[in-house]
């Protein structure tokens, strides 16, 4: 009863991992997942509205996450 979340860059540092099983059941809303993440060690370092991608596509806070979806927490991008 958890959702695996991919972590990158500063978020991976904050949570001390590149992948985290967040204790929340699918399906659930993106913002519900984010709230669950906040309560984990390192979660306080998340910004107000962290970006989330579901199946490699940007997902709004009210988007739904289904079981098996690839979920990633995306720090502020800094390419180029």
């Amino acid at each position: 009863m958890s959702i695996p979340v991919l972590l990158f860059a500063s978020y991976a540092d904050a949570f001390g991992a590149r992948r985290l099983d967040v204790p929340v059941g699918a399906p659930c809303r993106v913002d519900a997942l984010v709230n669950a993440l906040r309560s984990l060690p390192g979660g306080t370092r998340l910004p107000a509205a962290p970006l989330v991608a579901v199946n490699r596509v940007w997902a709004a806070p009210d988007a739904m996450i289904a079981a098996g979806d690839e979920v990633a927490l995306i720090p502020p991008v800094a390419g180029g």
Partner: protein, 151 residues
């Protein structure tokens, strides 16, 4: 007018070959090519940089890069595009990104390359951790004025 075409999109760890990118978008119908090259700078916001670690959410970085290139080819009919972004540890002077856009005429080619680099900076899930001369490292956060030190 040549058909629009996204000819090449890649997120790679090896050095970027800008000449190859230029050759990729070359065409008898193209009278103008605009190439944008991003390189690692020796200083950022006043701090001396020795190198940068680029990290990508690889599959999404590629799909976003392709989407951005395709959007440019839609808004600019006849545009031919090739884009490469390099990840891994880069040193000062290394090329981190290169965008080649060609067209029959110069204005669309110049607009196309610019449109792509601006969108890339907004949407492509790639991050950079700067290495400073004093040994410190920090992930660059364009949304905040100060890079968030992590070491």
């Amino acid at each position: 007018m040549h058909a629009s075409a996204v000819l090449h999109i890649a997120v790679i760890t090896s050095p970027i070959d800008v000449s190859a990118l230029l050759a990729t978008v070359a065409a008898p119908s193209a009278g103008a090519t605009s190439l944008f090259v991003g390189t690692v700078r020796e200083v950022n916001e006043g701090r001396a940089v020795t190198g940068i670690d680029y990290e990508a959410y690889q599959p999404m970085a590629e799909s976003e890069l392709r989407a951005i290139a395709e959007e440019a080819c839609t808004t600019i009919p006849g545009l031919r595009v090739a884009v490469e972004h390099r990840v891994g540890t880069l040193l000062v002077g290394d090329v981190s990104v290169a965008i080649a856009a060609s067209h029959a005429h110069r204005a669309p080619a110049l607009d196309g390359a610019r449109q792509i680099i601006e969108a890339l900076k907004q949407r492509v899930p790639i991050w950079k951790q700067e290495h400073y001369v004093d040994g410190a490292r920090a992930w660059v956060d364009p949304t905040s004025s100060v890079a968030a030190p992590t070491v």
